[in-house]
Symmetry: C2
Subunit: 487 residues, 2 copies
Amino acid sequence: MQATRRDTAVAQDSPYRYQELADFITRLVESATLLPGSRAPSLRQISRERGTSLATALKAYRLLEDRGVLEARPQSGFYVAGNTRARLEAPAISKPPSSPRTVSLSSVVLRLFEYASDPSLVPLGCAVPSPDLLAAGRLDRLLAKAARNRGVERNRYTVPKGDRVLRVELARRAPRWGGTLSPEDLVLTCGCTEALTLALQALSRPGDTIAIESPTYFGLLHTIEVLNLKALELPTDPLSGVDPEALEQALQTRSVTACLFSSSFNNPLGCTPSDERKLELLRLLGKHRVPLIEDDIYGDIFFGQRRPTPFNALDPAADVIYCSSFSKTVAPGYRTGWIAPGRHMQRVLERKMAFTLSGLPLPQSALAEYLASGGYDRHLRRIRAIFRDNLERMSQAVGRFFPQGTRVSRPSGGFVLWVELPKRIDTRELFGLALEHGICFAPGDVFSSTKRYGHCMRLSCGTPWSAGIERALETLGHLVRDALEAR
Amino acid sequence: MQATRRDTAVAQDSPYRYQELADFITRLVESATLLPGSRAPSLRQISRERGTSLATALKAYRLLEDRGVLEARPQSGFYVAGNTRARLEAPAISKPPSSPRTVSLSSVVLRLFEYASDPSLVPLGCAVPSPDLLAAGRLDRLLAKAARNRGVERNRYTVPKGDRVLRVELARRAPRWGGTLSPEDLVLTCGCTEALTLALQALSRPGDTIAIESPTYFGLLHTIEVLNLKALELPTDPLSGVDPEALEQALQTRSVTACLFSSSFNNPLGCTPSDERKLELLRLLGKHRVPLIEDDIYGDIFFGQRRPTPFNALDPAADVIYCSSFSKTVAPGYRTGWIAPGRHMQRVLERKMAFTLSGLPLPQSALAEYLASGGYDRHLRRIRAIFRDNLERMSQAVGRFFPQGTRVSRPSGGFVLWVELPKRIDTRELFGLALEHGICFAPGDVFSSTKRYGHCMRLSCGTPWSAGIERALETLGHLVRDALEAR
C-alpha cells in the first residue's frame, strides 16, 4: 500500500468518506501505482490504513466497481480492472465496401430467433438477458395489480402516443441522460424494434440508402432488407465508433437518406463514440441535412463512471429520432419501447396507427408504476455489475480456450462480446457444429450485408455465469482449433 | 296462436324439446304466419299450448334470439325480428371509380383515433366495444395469475409465431367456423391491424394496387396510404358484398396485386357475401392468380342462425391470408390478433420479426387459458344479443330523429351502422358541429379514397344503450335537419 502523504489527509468525519476513499484509490490506479490486473488492497487493510470502518471501505469499493475501476472476483477480492482484456487484442477498425448494398439475411435471422427460444441450447446467440437475471418480480406484481384493479377500465386502445403516465415517467428520467423531453415528445412502441421500423419508414422510401455502423445488429439489417432499403456500412472503430472522415466521404459521394447509429454500446462491438466524436458526426449530418436515427437501447447498461450521452441530448436542435426500450434492462416480455421522433412526430404517429394501432394499456401502466415507485436504478446497478462480470469472465474464457490470434472487443457497456477469429475460420460452419453440441452463438456474417465478418462471432453474456457456459466456451474453442487444423 | 295440426306432434319427452319448439316457431315465421315486428306468443301461452314447461319455452326463445328469429324487448316480451329496420331503406350498391387511387386520409384518421380515447365525447365514432360491455374480468384475473406465477419465466421473447398454447386454442376453435388449422399455421400479431399490415407487406410493393370493398374501414385505407399502395374500390352491395362482375372486370383490365375483403360484416356496411358468392369471388381470383387477404374480425358477432364461413374455410386450396383478432369480442386492450398466411408464411414471419419481433407472453398466456377454460362462447352469446339490441335501437332512433330520405344499413352482425343522408349533407361539416355538442361519429368521407361518401356517416353501437346516446342521436338528427334547411 503506497499512499502518499497528501492523501492521508482525507477528512475522517466527512459524510462522503467512502467517496473520498474511492477517489483516493482511483488516483492510485490513474498514476499506475496500482496496475491493471493487480489485486487491490483488502478491505481490512485499506480500512485500517485509511482509518475508516469496514463498511465505508466496502461502500467505496462497490462504487469503484460501478465505475469500472475495480472488479470483484468471488472468493478472491477486488482487482484493478482491465488486465485480462488487455491480453487479447481488440479488433481493428472495420473496412466495409464504400457502396450501398441490398441485404439478404432474412432466412438466417429467422432461424437465429427460433434458436433463441430453444431452452435446450446454451444461450450465447441472442442478446436478451435471461429472465432469472432480470428478476422482474416487482414489475409482474404491479401488472397483476393493474389487471385486477383496472382491467375493465383499461380494456381499450390507448391514446395514439401510448399511456400518458408512462410517458410522464420516461420524460422524468430524460435528465439522467442529459436530455429534456416532455411526455408529448414521446410515442410508446412495441419494443425498440418497432421504434426503429417506424423511424426508418417515416424517413425513407424503398430503394433509399441508410448509412449504418459496421458490423451492426442483424435485426436492423433484416429490417432494412424487409423495407427494401439499401445499407451503406461505414468503417467503425471497435473502441470509438463510426469514423467521421468515412461518414463525410459517404455524405459527399452518396445519396444517404438517413443514418442509424447506436448512441451507446453498439451491438455487437460494445463501443460508444465520445461526446466530441458524436458532436462531430452531428455537425457533418447537419451540414448535409441528413437525419439521424439513434438506438440507445443499451445506454443504461454502462460500466464506466457515467452514462453515455445520446446524440439528441448533445445537440437538441439536431435532426435526430431517438429510440430505446425496456427490453435489455427489465422486461423483454413487456415489449415496450419508445421513440422521440422530433420534427417527424406526425409521420411516425401515422405509421404507428397504421401498423399496430396501440400498445397494451395494462403492461404500460405497470411499467409506469414500476418507474414511479423507485428501485429501477438499484436494479440497473445490480444488472450492470452482473453483465460486466459476465463479460469479463467470457473474455477470460475466450483467452483461455481460443487459439492464438483471437481478438475480442472491450465493451464498456451492454452484454455482448465480439470475437474475431483467424481469417481462415468460417463461423457459419462453426455455427452448425456448435448447434450439434447444444450451443448457440451468432455467426459473424449476419452482422453485415457483405461476407466481411465470416470469421467473427458474437457471444451474448446475458445469462448468469455457470459451469455450463464455461464448458460451452471450451467446446467452442476446441471446434475453432479443430477447424484451423483441418485447413 | 295458429299452430297447425302437424306441429302439435312435438315429442313431449325429447331431451331436445326446446329445439323442437324453436323449430316450430321458426316455421311459423318463415311461412309468414307470424309477421316481422309482431309480438310472439307469450312464454306462458306457448308453454301451455305446446305442453312444455315454462323453462323449456324460455330456452327455446333464447335460442331463437341467438338465431336472430326473435328479439327480446325489455319489459315487453319477444317479437319477431326485422320490422323496424324495414322502415328505412337500405343504401344502394356503391359505385366507386373504376381506377385505382392513392389515398390521403392520414391526418383525419389520426384525429379520429384521438377522439376515440376522449371520455367526454358520446362514443359513436370508433368501432370499439366499451370496456363495461366486454366485462373482461375473468380474462384480467387470468392475466394477474399469469403475471404472479409465470412472470419471471415468461419475461422473454416468444417464439416467432407467438405463444404456442394460444395458437393451439385458436386452432381448436377453427372448426367452429368451418376451418381446419394447425397451431403451426398461425402467427400471433398486435391486433388485426398488424395482421393486415403484414399481409399487405408480404404480398405487395409500393405503387401496387389493392382491390377493396367500398365503402371500407378507414384504418385499412390509412394503412394502404402509409404503405404507398393504391386502392381500387369495388362496387359493394350493402347486403351481399362485392359485386363479382365488377371484380371480374377489374381483374381483366387492371393489374391487381391482391384483394382485401371482409369475411363477415364489412365495416361499415355490415354485409356478408353468401357462401355461393364467396366461392364465385374465389373462383375469379384463382383464375387471375390474385391472392385474397380476408378480414374476419367481426365473424364471431353474428345475429343469424350460423356464423359466416370465411373464404379460407370454403376453399382451403385458395390463395388466402386469413386475419382476425380478439379486439371486437373480448379484449381490445390485449392487442392480440392472428394471421394464417397460408403459402406466404415465410414472408409474413420475416416481416413480423422485422417490425415488432414478438408479442407479449403473459397476455397471450392469459388469453390461451381464457379460451381453454370455457365461457368464451357464453360471453359471445351475451355480447351478440347486446350488439343486436343496440343496433336495433340505433336504427329506430335514426328512423325517429333523422329526416325523410335517410337510409340505414341492415347489418346481420358486428356493431356499426352505416347511414346515408340526403346527398346535400356534408358529414365532415356535421362532424365539426357534432364535436361541439360532445358527440363523436365517423364521417363518411374517410371510408373511401374518393369523396364519394361525404353524405354518409358510420355510427358505432359498441356502448350499452343509454338516454345519453338517444339524446345524442336526437341532436345529430337536429343538426342534419338544420343543415338541410340551410341549403
